[in-house]
């Protein structure tokens, strides 16, 4: 078993001066080309990431001050409020008064003008004249838009989840590979590719005009729900498929009916997966503008949604929505120092909400993947 002395010696010599790994890649033109190409791919990847993050960062950077600088003390309970988040939009007046440049919202400007007029009248002078520049929606906040977006998302997701989960149960639990089922799957695939503006047109023609719902929450709910339905179905089916076959077989073997099996032994285990994947659908619903442009969104509305006389009015009223508000403030008013505040602020709040939803979905899903191992 003892190796010859010469072998031991040579091994010791090697230990002193380590020989090169014969399998290590040798430098050469091919090797250089390979690493160059790898770098090109790497740079392309990181360039995309950098673009996305730059857009995100620039909006956060310019929009965050709008929100943080809007805190204000109040006399009633929480004793603090945020004038940007919790007020309605107003027209901004910019004018010069006694050599000072002032910016005021609509209500503040009227109060100021009355006070100045009263002061002048008391001093026996003619009423002061103000030459103002006005910018619509550039003062005040975005509270009605936030409320409207939340209502739209909640309503449409309720409809989409009901329809979507039921369809997914059929497709994953009951359906066999028949022509009918293939047809349904084809329809779902194609529905996913329909442009959102076409959903808007459809909603306008069917709900707004044909059903006579006018521009209303209800029309927006159904339009958005139909748009997001393929996402919900695909996600739910995946979650249902992830539940092992043994769960169903065990239950059926014990004499449970198919429905009992689904209800007790499949759905509870699939539910977390269904919900987390559907959150991505929520992000899509919250982010779309085109479908609600003619079906649910108003440019401006003074009343808040719950300020209605009859319950039915609640469903048949239009609302303001964040994405549409961004469109309005970025296309209908000029870009300058006075309007920047509300433009970036709205974009920031909206992006923040959507990013929060998307990030929570991605994180939850990654966590879930690790938890259930069957």
């Amino acid at each position: 078993m003892n190796p010859p002395v010469s072998v031991i010696r040579s091994a010791a010599a090697e230990a002193v001066a380590p020989r090169k790994n014969p399998f290590a890649p040798r430098p050469g033109p091919a090797r250089r080309a390979e690493s160059a190409v790898a770098w090109i791919f790497r740079l392309a990847t990181y360039f995309v990431l950098a673009c996305g993050l730059f857009i995100f960062a620039s909006i956060v950077w310019k929009g965050l001050p709008t929100v943080t600088s809007a805190f204000e003390r109040t006399d009633t309970f929480p004793y603090v409020t945020n004038t940007f988040l919790f007020r309605a939009p107003e027209t901004l007046y910019v004018f010069e008064h006694e050599g000072q440049k002032r910016e005021m919202g609509d209500a503040a400007f009227r109060a100021f003008r009355e006070a100045e007029t009263a002061k002048a009248a008391a001093a026996g002078q003619p009423a002061p004249r103000f030459t103002t520049q006005t910018y619509v929606y550039a003062a005040g906040g975005i509270w009605p838009c936030i409320v409207g977006t939340v209502l739209l998302v909640v309503g449409s997701m309720t409809i989409a989840l009901t329809l979507g989960v039921a369809s997914a149960i059929y497709l994953s639990e009951y359906a066999r590979d028949t022509a009918f089922v293939r047809f349904i799957r084809l329809a779902i695939l194609n529905l996913a590719g329909v442009p959102s503006i076409v959903f808007g047109l459809f909603g306008f023609a069917m709900f707004v005009l044909f059903f006579g719902w006018n521009v209303s929450l209800l029309a927006g709910w159904f339009t958005l729900a139909f748009m997001v339905l393929p996402v919900v179905i695909t996600a739910s089916e995946e979650a249902l498929k992830a539940v092992p076959k043994g769960f169903r077989e065990g239950s059926l073997a014990l004499g449970a009916t198919k429905w009992q099996t689904i209800r007790k032994n499949v759905l509870p285990y699939a539910l977390p997966g269904i919900l987390t994947s559907s959150i991505l659908g929520i992000a899509r619903v919250a982010g779309e503008t085109a479908p609600i442009m003619f079906t649910a969104a108003y440019v401006v509305r003074d009343k808040l949604p719950w300020d209605v006389e009859k319950i039915s009015d609640f469903f048949l009223q239009g609302v303001m929505a964040l994405p549409y508000h961004i469109y309005v403030v970025s296309s209908k008013i000029p870009q300058n120092e006075y309007t920047q505040r509300v433009q970036y602020g709205t974009a920031f709040v909206f992006l923040g909400i959507v990013a929060l939803i998307a990030a929570s979905s991605i994180l939850l899903r990654n966590k879930l993947r690790g938890r259930y191992k069957w």
């Binding site: 791919f41 996305g52 359906a175 503006i197 023609a205």
Partner: protein
């Protein structure tokens, strides 16, 4: 499916009654309409699944319902265009437009001649001007005032101004002959122009009366429907005798012939004898070309006269004409006092142009990132990159559009002015919002779609392919380029098609950033066409849908555009699925 005990099989003889097994189900199942509860539940779920089919059918139905009437209405629209003589006037107007294009050519030549006379001296003087102006501004705002230097700078600025204006005055004086020629040339068309505006007024008046009649007719019908026949009878409708009315227009043909002959004679004389001399061979060549163009223009006069002579208002507009006017129409012109045109071509080319820019950017980045993440990146990198790209796909398009208006458009315009980028076609460009701005942002929207689907496709390439390639001694690069990408190609192509579908259907970014100019982009600019403002199919729907009257031809036209979009999206989807299915690699 055990039969209920109450209905024993009648044909077969019952075995011994005591032999019924202990576990036989004795309870009768609840049945609703002959179905067991489980079957009802299955039916309920199946019905829900069928909703997707119903929605797709409803979308098709409603788009057709609202859009189908468009072609009939457009036919009426084109019929009245012909009957009221607008078409006749437009034939003459085309001639006038041709001439205007020629005068534009001429003024371009003049500009170049002027430049030839004044450059490079004028350029130097302008640079001096700019330098001195900024120096004066700097001196004025300096913390330590230097009146002597300021006065000096101001006086030299005044000198430069004077020198520049003297130079320009001299050059303009040299061009006096050219100017008088240009003036005579552009005045030559006046007889025709007068005729066009005269006849145009007559035609518009006829059309207006026709439209009023239609309104009255509608009013009468409304009144009749409301049960007020006497009021309905009181609505006066004076029928239009188109033939008699048109006599005023077609009767002007001799006048047209006379003016056209006069114009032709003047123009021919002008280009034959009075063509001014040009200082350089290049400019002479251009003037020579101008002479040729004018003769070409004059050569069309007989054809126009023939077209006018044989023109008849009675020729019916066929349904096909109404269809081609939409599909191949080169103008989308609405709410015009003259004639509304609904041609989808400017919108379609705009959409295609923006989408191609987006794909040109998104394919290399999306596919490159997919190859990198799947084949080259470390696991830690993979875990970081994939969610980030998913996160990018969650950025709402309206926010991207806002970013384009607020930041990217301005940045690109600024970058287009940089000297080291001047090689790029179309740079520099004046408009902040154009196809390039929208295309860049749409590229960012398409990247996540292309990335995710291509990554899936690459991931599905069997491991054995890669291992076999390595075993044969191929390098990593060779394996990727020769084995993995070709094996995943069908998936990558379908990813690109789905990305294209996403980009064509995207609304908010193009509405906000594409510039919304309703003309076909000028493809003669080569690749520089990418920096022109365009309008798109999605953009026009979003922009105009809120303002149109439901049921009007404009409203229906928008629905037809929507229908076109819908079928493009379905077609792309179908193609993508077909490619995946057809070229699926078999794993042997």
């Amino acid at each position: 499916m055990s039969p209920a005990p109450s209905t024993p099989p009648a044909t077969q003889a019952d075995p011994a009654p005591a032999a019924a097994p202990a576990f036989a189900i004795r309870k009768a199942r609840t049945r609703v309409l002959g179905l067991t509860l489980d079957e009802c539940i299955q039916g309920f779920f199946g019905g829900n699944a069928f909703v997707a089919v119903i929605i797709l059918a409803l979308i098709t139905l409603f788009l057709f319902r609202e859009g189908a009437d468009f072609f009939g209405q457009n036919r009426d629209n084109l019929t009245i265009y012909r009957q009221a003589g607008l078409e006749y006037v437009d034939l003459i107007r085309a001639q006038e437009r041709d001439h205007t294009a020629l005068t534009r050519y001429l003024s371009d030549v003049r500009l170049q001649t002027l430049r030839h006379h004044t450059e490079p001296r004028a350029g130097e003087l302008r640079r001096d001007q700019a330098r001195l102006t900024s120096r004066i501004a700097a001196l004025r705002h300096a913390s330590t005032p230097d009146p002597a230097a300021l006065a000096e700078a101001e006086s030299s600025l005044a000198e430069t101004d004077a020198a520049l204006s003297a130079l320009l005055a001299e050059a303009n004086a040299q061009l006096a002959a050219f100017d008088s020629f240009a003036e005579r040339y552009s005045d030559a068309i006046l007889p025709l122009r007068g005729l066009v505006s005269e006849l145009g007024e007559v035609a518009v008046a006829i059309k207006e009366r026709h439209e009023n009649n239609l309104n009255f007719l509608q009013k009468r019908q409304q009144l009749l429907a409301a049960g007020r026949p006497e009021e309905a009878a009181a609505v006066q409708i004076v029928p239009i005798d188109f033939a008699a009315e048109l006599a005023a227009i077609t009767g002007a043909f001799p006048a047209y012939e006379e003016s056209a002959a006069e114009v032709a004679k003047t123009l021919e004389q002008l280009v034959a004898d009075a063509l001014p001399a040009a200082p350089t061979p290049a400019l002479s060549a251009r003037l020579e070309r101008f002479r040729q163009l004018t003769r070409d223009h004059l050569a069309t006069y007989p054809a126009t006269a023939e077209a006018l002579r044989s023109w008849t208002p009675d020729r019916p507009v066929s349904f096909g004409e109404s269809f081609t006017a939409f599909v191949f129409g080169r103008q989308w012109l609405t709410a015009s006092f003259w004639q509304d045109w609904y041609g989808v071509l400017p919108l379609f080319t705009g959409s295609v142009l923006v989408a191609s820019i987006a794909l040109a950017l998104a394919i290399p980045f999306g596919v490159g990132a997919a190859i990198y993440v799947n084949q080259l990146a470390s696991p830690a990198e993979q875990r970081a990159i994939k969610p980030t790209i998913e996160f990018i796909s969650a950025i709402p398009s309206v926010v991207l559009g806002f970013f384009g208006i607020a930041v990217l458009g301005e940045f690109l315009r600024m970058a287009s002015g940089w000297d080291w980028l001047s090689w790029f076609p179309g740079f520099p460009f004046p408009e902040r919002l154009n196809a390039l701005t929208a295309g860049c942002l749409l590229g960012l929207i398409a990247v996540p779609t292309i990335f995710t689907l291509s990554e899936d496709a690459i991931n599905n390439v069997p491991r054995a392919f890669k291992e076999a390639s390595y075993a044969l001694g191929a390098t990593r690069l060779q394996t990727i380029v020769r084995i993995i990408v070709p094996a995943a190609l069908s998936g990558i192509v379908s990813a690109v098609l789905l990305g294209l579908g996403r980009v064509i259907g995207e609304t908010m970014v193009v509405l906000l950033c594409a510039g919304n100019r309703l003309t076909i982009p000028d493809f003669s600019a080569g690749l520089g066409v990418v920096t022109q403002p365009v309008h798109t199919m999605t953009g026009i729907i979003a922009q105009e849908m809120g303002e149109v009257v439901p049921g009007s031809i404009h409203y229906r036209a928008l629905f037809v555009v929507g229908l076109l979009l819908f079928f493009i999206a379905l077609g792309l989807n179908f193609l993508a699925q077909k490619i995946v299915r057809k070229y699926k690699i078999s794993i042997g």
